[in-house]
């Protein structure tokens, strides 16, 4: 099992579009269980409704948890997505 803490940096957090990218990426690893935990609450990273239901906004710290054959890779892919701010442009001010 692999765990990693990440902080959301994009302006709007895990709303519809970033959440979709996130779930798409997690779904590519069929045989690996991927979960996200926020404040001790653990949810299925392959459910968009659960991901959006986290209400994770900019600055939120999340823990990624993966268990299975591709655990290292899936964590790296998801962390990259978050780190790159989901390729989000800057609509937000300062």
């Amino acid at each position: 099992m692999v765990k990693m803490d990440i902080t959301l940096t994009n302006a709007t957090g895990l709303h519809a579009r970033p959440a979709a990218q996130f779930v798409h990426a997690a779904n590519r690893y069929k045989d690996t269980i991927v979960k996200v935990s926020k404040n001790g609450k653990e949810i299925d990273a392959k459910s968009i409704i659960s991901i959006m239901g986290l209400g994770a906004t900019q600055g939120t710290v999340l823990t990624l948890i993966a268990d299975g054959p591709d655990e290292t890779e899936v964590i790296r892919v998801l962390a990259d997505l978050v780190e790159n701010g989901f390729g989000e442009g800057a609509e937000a001010g300062c």
């Binding site: 990440i6 902080t7 959301l8 940096t9 459910s47 409704i49 959006m52 239901g53 906004t57 962390a79």
Partner: protein, 564 residues
């Protein structure tokens, strides 16, 4: 006239098309013995429809608007939606009712969220629910392509799919009874640049199909069957706005100079190297605040000197010789970085943050300072320290900066002779000893967001008291005046990099108080420049003097308005 929330600027006058989303919710279409099969068919049909819709919207409106449907398509595969519906059907519930029941539960989850952006994601679930039910019951879909003359849409609310597929050639604008500034429809209206007013109470009771309405997306006003005088006024306003937009782009390469020849500098706040082209495109004369936090976020360990150097160099070189103020690491408060293992604190905004933490962890700080020195070779770099409250902090930070230079020189690096050093003024104590601090530095930059919060003692994210967050509070203005005066007395310049610097109603006062540099989101630069060009510095100085003598933000606002 009805008033709502101004969601997307612009003016439109036209015929109303009422969009009523009422569906026949009686029962599942036809004789379906197998409710499970009906549900699976509805899922497939909905997915296909969304796929086609996504493609069309992507071509017509752009990828950003189309991406909304990615989330919706994933929802149709989501075990949290599909499994409970199947379960309910197994328990003997009609498929339509099962979908309604489960989606209502899910909607409630989003509707209860604190963040308004997230709260409005309930609209996505509703949209999915309606689409599924439409397939289950065989109700027809509203077809925008059948619209002939351009219309103004009026609805309770527009779903994401309603708005995303609307054709801006046929829709002049829209007004809805519910919805907020961050709802899908509002965001999309801004992307498409069509006027919209949302959250208009009583809208549907007042308007009938076939009415003509005028909407003002800037004032948030809806006029029902307006008389010619009102139409005329709206058209004039639209013409002025169009002219202003044109004028603004012409201003890009002109300096921000008042009628009586007083010049100030307009700079951009930047959070990422990729924002630099946009800053330049809006005519930024420099970067007044480059936040270095992003290099540290979304990763598991500290970025090394080389990585930081590359990032800073990109920004400094990208501004092509224009000044770039880089702020050293400003974490803590609401910005947490897990791998720094910062303790959780009872009052993070009064806690171990920014320069306070950096001075306690000199190895971390020095890596950043070394990277900054090296980046200084590639343009006009200035360094700024955040969250200063004591003289000793500034002296220690400068000493570490000098040590970093010595180290690099002894390692054989070529470095600039010196780099101008400034501090942020965001703590009232620092503002009050600005005369002392000015001796230590080359410039100040007022961090108005925090200065206002700390001065008034108000958390602006706390909705219950956010009305007390007043940039024009005379207490705040007096502190700003003190800071500018103290700096000018020692020939140091003062900038401001908080949101206040980009707010049109604050500009005349700040100018009158003698602010030298205004740093803001790139998107605000041109309109601030336009405002400054209409002002007289002398009138602004008189205005500022009057504002310092009153007791309430409301009085300050009245004085500012009387300036026009």
């Amino acid at each position: 006239m009805l008033t709502g929330i101004a969601a997307s600027p612009g003016i439109a006058v036209g015929k109303v098309l009422l969009v009523s989303p009422e569906l026949d919710r009686q029962e599942t279409h036809g004789v379906q013995d197998d409710q499970q099969a009906a549900f699976q068919q509805a899922l497939t049909a909905s997915k296909n429809e969304l796929m086609a819709l996504r493609q069309r919207v992507s071509v017509q409106t752009g990828e950003a608007a189309a991406a909304v449907f990615d989330a919706q398509m994933l929802m149709l595969d989501d075990p949290n939606l599909v499994n409970p519906v199947c379960q309910a059907i197994d328990d003997g519930v009609d498929a339509v009712q099962a979908v309604e029941k489960i989606t209502q539960t899910l909607t409630a989850l989003f509707a209860g969220m604190e963040n308004s952006y997230m709260r409005e994601r309930a609209a996505d679930i509703n949209d999915i629910s309606r689409r599924l039910i439409r397939h289950l019951t065989g109700s027809p879909q509203l077809d925008w392509t059948e619209m002939n003359d351009p219309v103004i849409l009026v609805a309770q609310d527009l779903t994401p799919s309603d708005t995303a597929q609307l054709d801006p050639c046929k829709v002049l604008g829209f007004a809805t009874q519910s919805g907020g500034k961050t709802s899908h429809s509002a965001i999309l209206a801004r992307t498409l640049e069509i006027p919209a007013v949302v959250g208009v109470p009583g809208l549907l009771a007042e308007i009938k199909g076939g009415d003509v309405i005028g909407i003002d997306g800037e004032a948030g006003e809806v006029f029902i069957n307006p008389d010619p005088a009102v139409v005329n006024r709206l058209q004039q306003k639209a013409a002025i706005a169009a002219r202003l937009r044109e004028e603004l782009t012409l201003l890009r390469d002109h300096p921000a100079i008042t009628q009586d020849g007083h010049r100030v500098e307009l700079a951009a706040n930047v959070g990422h190297p990729k924002d630099i082209p946009m800053a330049l495109a809006h005519g930024a004369e420099g970067v007044g605040l480059y936040r270095t936090e992003f290099i540290f976020m979304g990763r598991t360990q500290l970025p090394d000197e080389e990585e930081q150097y590359q990032a800073y160099r990109t920004v400094v070189a990208g501004m092509k010789g224009k000044p770039v103020i880089i702020r050293t690491l400003d974490v803590g408060g609401d910005k947490q970085i897990p791998y720094l293992n910062m303790p959780s604190e009872a009052n993070p905004f009064l806690g171990w943050r920014a320069l306070r933490m950096c001075l306690d962890r000199p190895e971390l700080f020095k890596t950043q300072l070394r990277a900054l020195w090296r980046a200084g070779c590639h343009g006009m770099l200035k360094i700024m320290f955040p969250m200063v409250s004591q003289l000793a902090e500034v002296r220690l930070a400068k000493e570490l900066l000098a040590q970093a230079r010595e180290e690099l020189l002894s390692e054989g690096y070529q470095l600039p002779e010196r780099i101008p050093v400034g501090i942020m003024i965001e703590i009232p104590a620092a503002a009050l000893i600005a005369d002392q601090l000015a001796r230590e530095v080359d410039f100040f930059s007022i961090g108005s967001n925090d200065l206002i919060q700390y001065t008034i003692g108000v958390d602006r994210m706390n909705q219950q008291i956010s009305r007390l967050y007043q940039p024009l509070h005379p207490g705040v203005l007096r502190l700003i005046a003190m800071v500018i005066e103290a700096a000018h007395r020692q020939d140091k310049w003062v900038g401001m990099c908080g949101e206040m610097a980009g707010e049109l109603q604050c500009v005349p006062i700040l100018l009158g108080l003698g602010l030298d540099e205004f740093s803001m989101s790139s998107g605000n630069i041109l309109q601030v420049k336009h405002r400054i060009q209409t002002l007289s510095a002398e009138h602004c100085r008189n205005l500022a003097a009057k504002c310092l003598a009153v007791g309430e933000a409301e009085e300050v606002r009245r004085l500012v308005e009387s300036l026009k």
